[in-house]
Symmetry: C2
Subunit: 743 residues, 2 copies
């Protein structure tokens, strides 16, 4: 070979070799770590479609059939059987979770006596029993005859046998009793008949006792629950309406969690209050009755006619009492006797917990739960939610067992015990794992009653969840309306105008109606509650009519609430979509700026509704204005940094740091000293608000109180303190959103 | 070319090309991210050596000279000048930090009146003034004559002019006043003379007032502070001992933080208590005096001789009073008049904060601070610490400015304001940034007085810091003993036998003596306090003798405490080593198992000292035993997982997850409801313990109380509750150490 050919060959070879090196280095991506899991694992849209499509309405239906076959009140044998059913499902080698187990707490529950049922009677002057209310609901479909159906009762109401003249006290609000007093009625020693709604169950008894009422009756008025239907042939099983014999059971405890162990988990090491030291039990014997029985009492009452707003649909003029009319079926001096034999009992209640371990960030928990216990068969409450929970865990569990998927973060599934007695199982869980959950909880998703009715999605939650729920709802077809998404359908039913987003579905806020309460108020974990619900143009029912009665059965759901289980299916699809977005998105799908909108709105309401009052006391909202402005700036700037970060998500720590800011924002609104009288409430924005002014609850309540006692300097000090608490929370939250290395 | 040559060439080229690709892909490491910082950046031993060697004792000395040139009591002009000095240093373009700024709080301080100095006088029956205590210290070295030297006073003691017979009440403990009462002495309306030590300053007044004492005097006995030296020619400037005219100033507020704003930062939005509503101020006028003046009073007292343990070194028999001896320099019926003109004032106090931003995990804060304010010149307290702080920030700042280094995590430097009045600046800071700090704080390192004496290192901290402090101390040569490390020297001076580690230096526990208090007790951040201190075989001084007096000057330090500043240098080297280990170690250098040892020891003490008592009430320590065992198992298992992880540290998220467990362990011991009466204390293991039984403080205190009132069932309920609180904390902490995806 000639020398130039040799050179050419060598140069050519060298060039090719170099090109190879260059290509090899730059063109072939290196796996960034040893295992099959990448720290940049992100949400997989295709997988999202797959899991949504694998949810099966028939399986939800069959789940519900099994779950609601028999009454399963907390800690009964049937409740225990369902614990085993849950464990079996979640430990199934083909479709179960990575691990599942039980958490048992010894808690204080309240039951009526089988041997001595509670009674409500009309008794004549000489002691003859003229009338006895039914002790059980009519057996209309067979289920009501089950010996495990518990007698309707007011859980935690004390035993006792008060007897006295009957009065009608509307909803048992403080103002209702005050009205009776204003009418010259002496309430001391009376039995007050009240209807459900307006105020909480326990409050009816607490308010009454303050005025000397000796015993309380509560019933459900057909006006409030049945859109006025009241006859047997127009109520269940002929429609979804409550039969005349239906009685709403419920807990009358004013707080939540195990009453003996506030702030301690009800474990063997827990400090337990003596029963006499427990605060929040109703102070007087109380018994719920049917509207059929209420009619017999109410339509025979003496006294002046009750105000219009007190009237209901029992087909007579409601009068105030006291006592019965002269010409009624009962002699005028007849009294009502309420005999309550409820007993407090320490019982073992179980939570069932399951987990799919996160592949990348196992120490981040997306929690999803529902309670398991019902009052009777509980097909709607809570089994509709549990039927969905089981179907979702089956679909995700199967993927995991097949090795096809593992979430980025851990998903924790929970079936809570003893919710009906006061959110007990979930509260004890948050007490037992307080630090761990507060450090690591990404979000809590609650689906209690999955389907109240089949009209529209309804979501309650804190502002950051709006974004993820909307995104999910846009990917789910609305049941029965193939051309519409769940989102569009929701938008049609219940919307609001947002200054930022325009017209959007309206997100409700979270009180303490279900197991999210301790997660939000005690732990400060971003929470939501998801369900399908009513078309409010078609019903004004306070809640679905058979709520907490023996008529809440599988047949009821199948026939009236959700034939074909399409709404259950839509809820399941929405929830599984939300769960995967929370567990798998590289960046958490929370929009912190949506909190800016809430804070601005709280501030504006305070300025409009409270500033005139505050001005008179030289109390300045300025600090709150600064705080909200700072929050708005910090949130907007964080949004921008996130947009920048999205362009290069390769650094797992940068992603984690931003996610920590997003995850922990809700915690920043906690102040354990803000509401010392309200057990567990420490979230400064969502604590109970008794005032009608929609602003920071502590501020609103303190202003309402000071407005009533304007000459008490302590009341105004309380206003100042609550204003300071609000400003501090917002400032502190803003500080967590600002760049992490700013000082 | 022949066809076989062509084939050979092509095959050869292809092979070379492939080889190139292979080499390029596998043999040349890819940068794992864009920037120069690697997420696996770990502690650099060489850098550690470098920074330690760059610390300069001369610069520390010159820092101290500048800092202690003039009195710089909180919020005075000179304090403000030092704020500017700090800012200048930390904002220096060559040797400063990334950023530095001020945090200002409007807080309630207490000052004597310049116009009307406080007086202590002996007054005869007819009103003649027989004796007046000195209003200032003797001007021995020039500094004491500075017009900015504040008159000795008891901060927060109320104004007033009590006058009465003098009694001697030893240390002003509850038992001391009780003893006087038992001796038949009526304390009502008396002036009590007490000596420093034994109980807190404020407690002397609180206890006295309970017994009717009208005014309080406090002095420092030469026995307690001077190893009995008391004459001018044997005390400073002739030795380190306290001159006869020296008076210890101090805060008599019983809690810490700004008194007007407990649990709120003293910002414009803070809710402020009315001064009358503040709890924890001494209830009676109080004034500290010198032992020279005390001698005049005490050595002339009437009454029976005080017990041996009450005697001091003033050269006379201490008697109890009331009133003076018949044959003394004062007529027997002479009274002592205490006139206090202290005023409460709202003042702006500044913290100075600086940061070196972390390169990899900027959202993890290693905090390092000291207060800036002194009572007078404060060369020792606090300027010795600030002199070290400035030198450390210079060395680290210079490296950062030169682009040679940036820590993995952020380092936050703090110069706190108004510590002397009750840890005010640091407490307000923790209140303002509560959530942010609780989420992100890795550790708080406090160096208040850097050098009490030049004998040995002394570290107080929670158990996890033992490991990092020991490791650091082993790398620092002991001052003046070139063959010994600081660790070995420490081991010789103060050791204990650990069942796990054998004989090791003894780590002290943290009370509320300096700015770590809010970090540990309120935020639950792992904390430590580092200093050089006494050889206890050579002195029994309660603290260095010129503490809080006008004799705590630069000359004092240079001549007596640390000639050559070698101890300052050793403290600086230890601290910078600790800081770098905390900021740069890939895995946090905390040993959680060292908490197992503490818990086991607390448990064993409870079993030995409390179980007999508890057994009588059927109170079982079983739950605590289970909790401690669970913690031990969890900590040991975590240690093992960390060992495994160390073999492959390439996954930054795995490292971060373990670090989060280590960092947050301390938080798990917090319970905001454990000690509702003690402001800010929520750490279940380190809250104040009044009982002498070294175990869980809440349990120990409750047992001591119940032992005193054994027939009160509420007292035993409190014991049960505290036992439950302890068990819950340990169980909850164990849960945070267990594998993160266990349920």
């Amino acid at each position: 070979m000639q020398w130039w050919k040799v050179i050419l060959l060598v140069v050519g070879l060298a060039a090719l070799f170099s090109l190879g090196i260059i290509l090899g280095h730059f063109a072939i991506p290196k796996p960034t770590q040893a295992g099959p899991i990448s720290p940049s694992q992100d949400l997989d849209q295709e997988l999202l479609e797959t899991v949504m499509s694998q949810l099966d309405a028939n399986r939800i239906q069959e789940n519900l059939r099994s779950l609601s076959l028999e009454p399963h009140m907390a800690t009964t044998q049937r409740d225990e059987n369902l614990v085993q059913l849950l464990l079996q499902r979640w430990q199934n080698p083909e479709s179960g979770l990575d691990a599942a187990g039980e958490g048992v707490y010894e808690v204080l529950l309240s039951f009526p006596s089988r041997e001595q049922p509670n009674t409500v009677q009309v008794v004549s002057h000489n002691g003859d029993v003229l009338f006895t209310a039914q002790q059980s609901e009519a057996n209309l479909t067979g289920e009501q005859g089950d010996p495990e159906v518990v007698q309707p009762y007011a859980a935690y109401a004390p035993a006792g046998t008060p007897q006295g003249l009957l009065v009608y006290a509307n909803r048992g609000a403080e103002s209702d009793y005050a009205y009776l007093k204003d009418q010259g009625i002496n309430l001391t020693g009376t039995i007050a008949l009240t209807r459900y709604g307006g105020v909480g169950r326990g409050a009816k008894a607490v308010n009454g006792a303050k005025h000397g009422v000796a015993g309380l009756l509560v019933y459900t008025d057909p006006r409030d629950i049945n859109d006025n239907l009241r006859f047997p042939n127009e109520t269940f099983p002929h429609s979804w309406a409550l039969p005349p014999s239906g009685v709403e059971r419920g807990s009358y405890y004013e707080h939540f969690g195990d009453p003996k162990t506030p702030y301690f988990p009800a474990t063997p090491y827990a400090f337990r209050l003596e029963n006499d030291d427990i605060q929040g039990f109703p102070p007087i014997p109380t018994q719920p009755i049917s509207f059929e029985d209420a009619q017999n009492l109410l339509c025979n009452l003496n006294g002046s006619v009750a105000p219009n707003s007190w009237q209901g649909a029992l087909g007579c003029d409601y009068k105030l009492g006291p006592g019965f009319q002269n010409n009624s079926v009962f002699p005028q001096d007849s009294e009502v006797n309420v005999t309550v034999h409820n007993r407090l009992e320490l019982r073992n209640s179980s939570n069932v917990l399951g987990i799919i371990r996160g592949a990348v960030e196992p120490d981040r928990y997306v929690l999803y739960g529902n309670h398991r216990d019902s009052w009777v068969h509980g097909a709607v409450d809570p089994s509709s939610g549990t039927a969905v929970l089981l179907e979702i865990s089956r679909v995700l569990g199967t993927l995991v067992k097949e090795g096809k998927w593992r979430p980025r973060r851990s998903i924790v599934f929970a079936s809570w015990g003893a919710e009906e007695f006061g959110l007990i199982g979930s509260t004890e869980f948050t007490e037992e794992f307080f630090t761990k959950l507060q450090e690591r909880g990404v979000a809590y998703v609650n689906v209690d009653i999955a389907v109240f009715a089949n009209a529209t999605l309804r979501v309650q939650g804190t502002p950051p969840v709006q974004n993820v729920v909307f995104t999910a709802a846009k990917q789910v077809p609305a049941p029965g309306k193939s051309s519409l998404t769940v989102y569009d359908n929701w938008l049609q039913h219940n919307n609001r105008s947002s200054p930022v987003h325009g017209v959007i579905p309206s997100l409700g806020s979270l009180g303490s109606g279900s197991d999210y309460a301790a997660f939000l108020h005690f732990l400060g974990i971003t929470s939501m509650d998801i369900a399908y619900t009513y078309d409010r143009s078609k019903t004004s029912a306070r809640i679905y009519p058979t709520y907490h009665t023996a008529f809440d059965t599988f047949q009821y759901v199948e026939t009236f609430l959700d034939p074909g289980f399409t709404s259950h299916h839509a809820v399941a699809q929405t929830v599984i979509n939300v769960l995967l977005r929370l567990s798998d998105s590289l960046l958490l799908p929370f929009s912190v700026s949506d909190y800016s909108e809430t804070l601005r709105s709280f501030l504006q309401t305070a300025q409009t509704d409270l500033e005139p009052l505050l001005g008179q006391q030289s109390i300045d909202l300025g600090p709150l204005v600064s705080a909200v402005e700072r929050f708005e700036r910090a949130a907007a700037a964080l949004d921008q940094r996130i947009e920048t970060l999205k362009k290069n998500l390769s650094d797992p720590l940068k992603v984690r740091m931003v996610n920590d800011q997003l995850m922990l924002l809700e915690r920043a609104f906690l102040n354990t000293r803000a509401f010392p009288e309200d057990f567990y409430y420490s979230h400064v924005l969502w604590a109970p608000r008794t005032s009608s002014v929609v602003t920071f609850p502590g501020l609103a309540n303190a202003c309402a109180e000071a407005n009533n006692t304007p000459n008490d300097p302590r009341a105004w000090a309380k206003v100042r303190k609550q204003l300071s608490i609000a400003a501090m929370a917002v400032e502190g939250a803003a500080a967590t959103l600002e760049p992490v290395a700013d000082i």
